[in-house]
């Protein structure tokens, strides 16, 4: 037998601990991405041309370059200019900012999907801008794009292993550590893959059900 079941039983608790860190990183990163993405989307609709251009350039730049390099910058390069972040901090900021560039596109599509008439009605009712956004536009824009946002949260979950490169002890890091101790990589890595599947498949199905509910 190539597969060692006893070994599998031994390492499972360690891997599950790693899963906890993975989930924590995903949740914090998602919060950053979902909030910051909305900020980016709103900034790109600013009436000030300079704001629009700077935000647009920043978003495009982050979106077109690898997350791994951005993580290296946050963790290894920032200390040289005085900012030291822990692996976890750098990780969630990196994940959050990178995926905020994706979610900002999703928000933009949602906002532009709100019928023109809604804006005109709000103007006719003389509502102040903040209320227009809070009570009319966003409540219509966001539910429609929840499935797309959900998919990006799942994508973030699957990108957390990159954090192992900046010393975060999520699942892959733990598996690597176990493997390098015992030289048996098959079981830890396979288990990590299965654990990812076990979380992401139901999550995808939930998102697909969301898609059907919010009618596409």
């Amino acid at each position: 037998m190539i597969w060692d079941w006893d070994y599998t039983r031994d390492i499972l608790p360690d891997l599950l601990r790693g899963l906890v860190v993975t989930v924590q990183a995903t949740l914090v990163g998602s919060v950053v991405a979902l909030l910051l993405g909305l900020v980016f989307a709103l900034l790109r609709r600013s009436s000030l041309r300079a704001v629009r251009i700077v935000t647009g350039a920043f978003v495009e730049f982050i979106r077109s370059t690898p997350l791994l390099v951005q993580l290296y910058v946050l963790f290894f390069v920032l200390p040289t200019v005085g900012i030291t972040l822990s692996g976890f901090q750098a990780g969630v900021i990196g994940l959050g900012v990178h995926y905020a560039t994706y979610t900002s596109e999703v928000y933009r599509a949602g906002i532009e999907g709100v019928p023109r008439g809604q804006w005109e009605a709000a103007t006719a009712l003389n509502l102040p801008a903040s209320r227009v956004w809070r009570s009319v536009i966003l409540p219509q824009a966001i539910p429609r794009v929840l499935p797309a946002l959900g998919n990006y949260v799942i994508a973030m979950f699957k990108e957390t292993p990159l954090l192992s490169a900046i010393t975060v002890l999520e699942m892959l890091a733990i598996a690597k550590g176990l493997g390098s101790q015992t030289f048996r990589y098959l079981e830890p890595l396979t288990l990590v893959g299965l654990l990812f599947l076990l979380v992401s498949l139901p999550a995808s199905l939930t998102v697909r059900r969301l898609e059907r509910r919010f009618g596409h």
Binding site: S64, L68, V69, V73, T80, V81, P161, L197, S200, L201
Partner: protein, 232 residues
């Protein structure tokens, strides 16, 4: 300024490796995308099941985990990959699973009326795909393929973790050589950006070519204009 000239050659070498891996994985990904996509729309239930398993497996797990598994775990059951081969295979299979969903979606998007016209002309399923459905579907596949290509380019940075000397790896090498790290990394990011932008431009050109090949972008029928233009 002269510092930049010091590290630029190493970065350019790394960028060349990045480009090669992107090209190799893109090719493999394209093959997998069509194989998977066509299987997903085929009449055979087995083909469809295989396609679903392939897509859900590679989409449902992390690319880095897949890369590690190919490179570290497979040797234990006898299959040993060279690092670059592992990189190309892992990234290619991964991007191919997303690609096959694009292919599937584009084929399904072709109106039923086109199928019915091929039935009326008694075409075989193979002929229907080759002459009518696929040529039209490919036009719809190009924009999403363009996005996937950019994702693939970014994904190649993962191979640095298994010590392949791509652009990201060489950036790390320079960092440990205590060079001005902020400059180095900004240059690295800029190089990725330039590569991504070039790929985007290339894809846009392809999209325009494809649209022309199915008669879009040509002057459409304009009844009055045609009559007026006729020589007396």
């Amino acid at each position: 300024m002269s510092a930049i000239l010091d590290f630029l050659p190493l970065l350019l070498k790394g960028a060349w490796v990045t480009i090669q891996i992107t090209a190799g994985a893109a090719l493999l990904g394209l093959v997998c995308a069509f194989a998977g996509g066509l299987a997903a729309v085929s009449g055979s239930r087995i083909s469809r099941a295989v396609a679903i398993v392939y897509v859900e497996f590679f989409r449902g797990t992390s690319a880095l985990v897949q890369l590690f598994w190919l490179f570290f775990a497979l040797p234990l059951i006898g299959i040993r990959f060279e690092p670059i081969a592992a990189g190309i295979v892992a990234l290619g299979l991964n991007i191919g699973s997303y690609g096959s969903e694009v292919v599937r979606g584009a084929i399904k998007a072709i109106p039923k009326s086109q199928y019915e016209a091929t039935v009326a002309l008694n075409m075989t399923p193979y002929r229907r795909m080759r002459s009518v459905i696929l040529p039209q579907a490919v036009v719809g596949m190009l924009p999403p393929f363009g996005n996937l290509l950019i994702e693939l380019l970014k994904g190649t940075s993962l191979v640095s973790i298994i010590s392949i000397a791509d652009l990201t790896f060489n950036a790390q090498v320079l960092r440990s050589a205590a060079l001005p790290t902020l400059t180095v990394f900004l240059v690295v990011l800029a190089m990725y950006f330039v590569m991504a932008y070039t790929l985007t431009l290339g894809m846009k050109l392809l999209e325009r070519r494809a649209a022309r090949s199915i008669g879009l972008g040509k002057l459409p029928y304009q009844p009055d204009a045609v009559k007026l233009a006729e020589p007396v």
